[in-house]
């Protein structure tokens, strides 16, 4: 895998290379080159299968991190291509032309995170939430608990404890 990474680094503007496991590595690439890197891996290095496309909300840095996890069925290795995009007006190039199921992942991300992929097929349609009118629920500034308490009808009487303090009071009551 080292040769592959060297090859990538010589061609693309990448950073933060992490080898998580023997067959799993992550590499961060700048936004402009992301789709070309994924295409390059697919066409020249036989990473022909898309495992998933997902997003992480780094709210403190004002960024979304997209991960294209792609798989090489020949030597069973996986590469995660990470892209950091701005949280404000989050938009990413669509890559539905590479894999057919990419369009579904992009629909999901648009609904759950509000990341737009212009040109992706059926991107405007509802995916799971029908008629959602709040901020997208997977964004970290969306307060799930508050929303639930206001929207649904919580049954009174539910108690919950902070596990750390509760265990401490049970095991070391004298401290």
């Amino acid at each position: 895998m080292i040769e592959l990474i060297k090859d990538i680094e010589s061609r693309f503007n990448t950073s933060d290379y992490i080898q998580k496991l023997k067959h799993l590595a992550f590499i961060t690439v700048e936004k402009k080159q992301a789709i070309s890197l994924v295409t390059y891996l697919r066409d020249y290095h036989k990473y022909s299968s898309l495992t998933l496309l997902t997003a992480v909300d780094w709210i403190e840095e004002g960024k979304f991190q997209l991960t294209y996890l792609i798989n090489n069925p020949q030597n069973f290795t996986e590469i995660g291509v990470r892209v950091m995009i701005d949280r404000e007006n989050a938009t990413m190039e669509s890559s539905h032309h590479l894999w057919e199921n990419m369009a579904t992942y992009q629909r999901e991300l648009r609904e759950m995170f509000g990341i737009d992929f212009p040109g992706s097929p059926r991107i405007e349609e509802n995916f799971i939430l029908e008629g959602w009118d709040n901020i997208p629920p997977y964004r970290r500034d969306f307060d799930t608990k508050e929303y639930t308490e206001n929207t649904y009808f919580p049954r009174p009487g539910r108690e919950s404890n902070d596990p750390a303090t509760y265990m401490k009071s049970k095991m070391y009551p004298n401290d």
């Binding site: 949280r87 404000e88 007006n89 989050a90 648009r110 509000g114 737009d116 405007e124 509802n126 799971i128 939430l129 029908e130 008629g131 959602w132 009118d133 709040n134 901020i135 997208p136 629920p137 500034d141 969306f142 799930t144 608990k145 929303y147 639930t148 929207t151 649904y152 009808f153 919580p154 049954r155 539910r158």
Partner: protein, 229 residues
């Protein structure tokens, strides 16, 4: 609520969710006149449900006995609990000997098992199915998710208390209850029906406005008639 960085979520209009064949339109009739069609009003009955009084005395008792001994269950699994229903037709549990049978369409079934958590999207379908079932109809709520939300109590997309949206006859607690518990639930339901206490279809008709308000509070894209006959 910050909304300015979200694309096009603001322009929410109920008509946006209408299927194209359900939109209002005008059609040219063969005789040259123009006919206005509003499919939601023309193709569906918009009437409210009515309370249907039980018959009196021993007749109703006999009919209730028949209803209790012939429970037809709608084959609609709403959550993870639906995996507990198929074992009921296997030799080990065999619900047929108690007169419980599975039916594939809501028109022919009396019992609706809400099996586990109910997301808002599924709730919409569950309401449609429930309203299409013919009148003495019963609901069995399976699992703690239907009672207080269970382990999904703070999820943004699953309801907490089922009885605020459709009336429930029997709750079966557990996460998940075993098929034996379901059989016990059927036995309890039979008791209730034979005692004439399972009149929740009438309850639904009586408190129709309250149920509809609760339902419409969370189902934002209400693109169906108020009552699905």
């Amino acid at each position: 609520m910050e909304k300015n960085n979200i694309h096009k979520f603001e322009e929410l209009d109920v008509d946006k969710f209408l299927a194209p064949e359900n939109e209002k339109r005008s059609v040219l009739a063969p005789d040259g006149s123009i006919v206005e069609i509003d499919p939601l009003k023309d193709y569906f009955c918009q009437d409210r449900p009515e309370e249907l009084k039980p018959r009196s005395g021993p007749v109703e008792k006999f009919l209730n006995w028949a209803r209790a001994e012939s429970l037809w269950v709608l084959g609609f699994g709403t959550g993870c609990g639906s995996i507990e229903i198929p074992p009921l037709v296997t030799p080990r549990f065999d619900m047929y000997r108690y007169g419980v049978q599975m039916r594939p369409t809501p028109r022919q079934s009396n019992v609706f098992i809400i099996s586990g958590y109910l997301s808002v999207k599924t709730l919409k379908r569950a309401i449609r199915s429930y309203e299409q079932m013919p009148s003495p109809k019963y609901i069995i709520a399976l699992g703690s998710c239907t009672i207080n939300g269970g382990m999904y109590w703070d999820s943004y997309n699953t309801i907490n208390r089922l009885d605020h949206y459709i009336p429930v006859d029997v709750y079966i607690a557990g996460c998940m209850p075993r098929p034996e518990a379901l059989l016990a639930g059927f036995a309890k339901l039979k008791e209730l029906i034979k005692a004439g206490k399972a009149e929740n279809a009438n309850e639904y008709a009586r408190n129709f406005d309250w149920y509809k308000a609760n339902q419409k509070k969370i189902i934002k894209d209400w693109n169906m008639p108020d009552f699905n006959w």
